[in-house]
């Protein structure tokens, strides 16, 4: 009988398959396994048994069919700029490395969309979009992330108040199911309509089938992705507030105005950390900066942006905000640099700086909340942090990053990233997670086995599952139907 390796080699060619332990070693870890500071990380390193680099969808289909026949797990991954452990195998198996599928296949300037392969990065797509007077959704993740991977995971970004999150940029996908079947969704589901621009296929749309399950329902091999017009004018504004009620008040009013393209609240020290590259600089930022920063960006014609700015300024005044025209000097250079890169890299670099300099993400929690709940959730988190983590109140080092809020969908909801940088204590974190959910956050993150969530969100004892009731059970049933052998990234979505 032909070995699995031999069969894989027959599909993709021998040079694109490896079971060498030294090669596999580099596929077993991301930031969650051991993060930037010494005390970090809680996802152990786990290696696949094979790594394979397919060149096209047909090869992916054959690989998955082979895996299904032999009940071998499949773990897909793109550029490895992964911060969420979703490409770290839980049970060995075959890691599909998509690096050879890295083409922007088509850009339709009229319909403003791109057809991309899994390993096209945001920077790659943006560089092509720019040439055509267009731009893509800008992720807050590193620019080396991919629209395919980022949208399947979560994907938040700078313009999401008006254009939505990463997954809302998807028009349709091509995916390979567990039995190797290739399914095309949306307009591409009908070969006669191929290339048309409509939102869904016949009946319930399957486009979002692979979303948030990290390859658990199907492996995406192509994606049609929205592009947007590159604005004539773009301005980013940073406004400082000393009071939580005021920053939330200003935020909510601006969210309801539906003017800013992007809108976010962060504790100012966190924001400062994005632009500081060493501890001393961070400390200076913390001392110099007020408590909260409201960041927003305006885009459009020059006239439009000028008008919107006057509206924003009125709101700032009403809520005692201070428009930042000059950052503390130590942050200035970095700020300008990031601002300059805003059209392509955006604050992805800033994010990465923050992660790198600001020690590690010990753990964290993503939640989607209503706009009206932002203040409540923030207070809840601060209260909890102070309760379980005395270091938090010291305002030093790794305990500086308690919360980050992005607003999206025209101010209808907010993505809240709660981060705890103290030593992880699973019991306390579990309590906190439930505390926050009771406080009003949606349970979306419960499906997310991402970096910060696994010990919190999906537990083998089914604690979370039982809380989610029927929804969770239906997902499990769907998984059993579409992937009866549980080969597609097993353990990633459902325990």
């Amino acid at each position: 009988m032909e070995s699995i390796k031999g069969a894989l080699e027959r599909i993709v060619g021998p040079e694109w398959v490896s079971d060498d332990p030294v090669i596999l070693l580099a596929y077993g870890r991301d930031i969650t396994s051991l993060s930037t500071a010494i005390g970090g990380g809680f996802i152990p390193q786990r290696m696949p048994e094979f790594v394979v680099l397919p060149e096209n969808t047909e090869q992916v289909s054959k690989i998955i069919r082979l895996a299904n026949n032999h009940k071998i797990p499949i773990v897909p991954g793109t550029t490895a700029a992964n911060v969420s452990s979703t490409s770290i195998p839980t049970q060995g198996g075959i890691r599909i490395d998509f690096k050879r599928m890295n083409k922007v296949l088509e850009i339709d300037e009229v319909d403003m969309r791109a057809k991309i392969q899994p390993c096209v990065t945001y920077a790659m797509l943006q560089s092509e979009a720019h040439k055509r007077g267009l731009q893509t959704f800008i992720t807050a993740a590193p620019f080396t992330g991919t629209p395919v991977g980022n949208s399947i995971f979560c994907g938040i970004g700078r313009n999401q108040n008006q254009i939505g999150m990463a997954f809302q940029q998807i028009i349709c996908v091509e995916m390979v199911l567990a039995d190797g079947t290739v399914v095309r969704t949306g307009p591409n589901s009908d070969f006669l309509a191929k290339g048309a621009y409509f939102w869904h296929g016949p009946g319930p749309d399957l486009t979002y089938f692979p979303m948030y399950v990290h390859g658990g329902f199907g492996v995406v091999t192509e994606m049609d992705w929205k592009l947007h017009r590159f604005p004539e004018e773009r301005q980013t504004m940073h406004i400082f507030f000393q009071n939580l009620g005021e920053v939330v008040g200003a935020h909510n009013e601006l969210a309801r105005s539906e003017l800013p393209k992007g809108l976010a609240i962060a504790p100012a020290p966190y924001y400062g950390q994005r632009y500081a590259d060493n501890w001393e600089a961070i400390e200076r930022c913390v001392r110099a900066w007020p408590k909260y920063v409201l960041a927003l960006n305006l885009e459009g014609t020059k006239r439009q942006v000028a008008y919107e700015k006057t509206v924003v300024e009125k709101v700032i005044k009403k809520y005692n905000g201070r428009l930042l025209d000059k950052l503390p000097s130590e942050a200035q250079e970095r700020y300008l640099f990031t601002e300059d890169g805003a059209t392509r890299g955006d604050y992805c670099a800033g994010t990465t700086c923050a992660w790198a300099v600001g020690a590690t993400r010990q753990t964290g929690y993503f939640a989607i909340v209503g706009i009206s709940e932002i203040q409540e959730i923030t207070e809840l988190y601060v209260e909890w942090s102070q309760k379980v983590d005395p270091e938090y109140t010291k305002g030093r080092g790794r305990w500086w990053l308690p919360i980050y809020i992005y607003t999206f969908n025209w101010g209808h909801c907010a993505y809240v990233e709660l981060m705890n940088f103290s030593k992880p204590n699973p019991t306390k974190l579990q309590d906190f997670q439930e505390h926050v959910v009771r406080g009003g956050a949606a349970a979306r993150a419960c499906l997310n086995r991402g970096a910060y969530s696994l010990p919190l969100m999906v537990r083998d004892d089914g604690r979370i599952g039982s809380r989610m009731g029927v929804y969770y059970e239906k997902l499990r049933e769907i998984k059993e139907i579409v992937d009866p052998n549980n080969i597609l990234n097993p353990g990633m979505m459902l325990p």
């Binding site: 992964n82 490395d97 990065t121």
Partner: protein
């Protein structure tokens, strides 16, 4: 299997120096900056990538962040210098893109970690036969090219120009440090000849060390032979200071990087280099600006400039060569998609070409294709090693491009 607890244990046991290297491997957060052109500088989807080795092999360990995994396991003692590990450590041109981009955010300096692990591999007696030959070349001939010492003077005799002094015997203001490649490789002597012509045209009082010139040691450091590198550095630093020259000029990017940035790291042991050290493009640029070097002719050619990694990312010399090119009437310069600090490596550096000639050539061909897209007729650079590899790339890809060292272009118009 790696676990956090093991790292923490290791921190207790490891020497302080090892802890510092280990920390760097841990700082690597898999952001992937190391393998790409920086976000806002990405010229296109095609030219978004930067790592020559990664782009050939494509498996994770061939990129810097993957190599950091291997390096960490080596430091923890979980891996030995097996053939595969050696392959991974040495499939790197040390072009410095990973370090440059990493240091914009994470500051894990992957190239330095790779370099350190090469040093340890070498110390453990693991050396590729091809690299051992480089060492044999030095022992037997005083250069890695297996050419007799006397070959270092051959180009002077062929040149038949008067005015090039013997710095060993005569007091000169400027030492032209030729370097092994331009000095002894028969195909690269043209760089030494052109450089001398330009210096002579400017009336520079300069000399060379000829057969007494000692290799800068760059290649030995790249392949991990730190002992040989230091030995050569010590000799050179001592000699440079004895000469009493004001300035040391070199037309070799590798020598420039080594003498300008790596010898000073050894100052505590071997002392500082007293003379100013510059690459010839910097020196010539100054001469032109000071009106000491007159450009006498037009040259109606269309060129593109390839930034050598050694004086580009490693030293930061980006504008002087462009200023020199633009100072020549008639020359039209068109930049490649990836230029300056995002220039794509030619594939020759770090002992890579010696061990992986086919991949080095493949990399050169990629760069030649990028150069062709500018519409230029000439590809210009300032490094004999890039010259060798890119010329081969032009030849193998049957490109219409012609390769020239910038000094050659200059020598025709001064």
């Amino acid at each position: 299997m790696f676990r956090l607890e093991k790292v923490l244990e290791a921190f207790e046991k490891l020497p302080a120096e090892d802890v510092e290297w280990l920390k760097k491997t841990i700082y690597c957060m898999k952001c992937g900056f190391c393998r790409f052109v920086w976000a806002e500088n990405t010229p296109s989807a095609e030219y978004a990538y930067q790592c020559p080795a990664g782009e050939h092999w494509k498996f994770e360990p061939y990129y810097a962040s993957g190599k950091m995994e291997i390096c960490r396991e080596l430091l923890l003692g979980n891996l030995d210098y097996t053939d595969k590990v050696m392959e991974i450590l040495y499939t790197c041109t040390t072009c410095g893109n990973c370090k440059e981009n990493c240091n914009r955010a994470v500051k894990a300096s992957p190239m330095d970690v790779i370099q350190e692990m090469r040093r340890r591999a070498f110390a453990a007696g693991k050396v590729f036969p091809s690299h051992r030959r480089l060492i044999e070349g030095l022992k037997n001939y005083g250069n890695p090219w297996f050419q007799p010492k006397a070959a270092r003077e051959k180009w002077v005799k062929e040149m038949k120009e008067k005015g090039i002094k013997n710095a060993n015997k005569e007091k000169v203001k400027v030492l032209y440090y030729v370097g092994c490649t331009a000095g002894v490789d028969p195909t690269m002597r043209r760089v030494a000849v052109a450089t001398s012509k330009v210096l002579l045209a400017a009336g520079v009082d300069f000399g060379i060390l000829g057969s007494e010139e000692v290799c800068c040691g760059s290649i030995y450091r790249r392949i991990g032979d730190e002992g040989t590198f230091r030995e050569l550095a010590e000799k050179n630093i001592k000699r440079f200071n004895e000469l009493g020259v004001d300035t040391i000029v070199t037309a070799c990017a590798g020598c420039a990087r080594t003498i300008m940035t790596e010898y000073p790291e050894l100052a505590d042991t071997y002392g500082e280099i007293k003379p100013r050290v510059v690459h010839v493009v910097q020196f010539v640029n100054e001469l032109i600006k000071d009106k000491k070097l007159e450009i006498k002719k037009e040259n109606n050619i269309h060129v593109t400039y390839h930034d050598p990694c050694h004086i580009g990312r490693h030293v930061g010399i980006y504008e002087p060569p462009r200023e020199v090119i633009n100072a020549i009437p008639g020359v039209k310069l068109t930049e490649m998609a990836r230029n300056r600090d995002f220039s794509f490596c030619c594939g020759a550096g770090g002992g890579f070409r010696t061990q992986y000639l086919d991949v080095a050539l493949e990399t050169a061909i990629k760069r030649v294709k990028e150069a062709e897209e500018t519409g230029a007729d000439y590809m210009i650079s300032t490094c004999p090693f890039c010259y060798q590899n890119l010329s081969l790339g032009i030849q193998e890809s049957k490109s219409r491009l012609q390769f020239r060292d910038l000094t050659e272009v200059l020598a025709e118009v001064v």
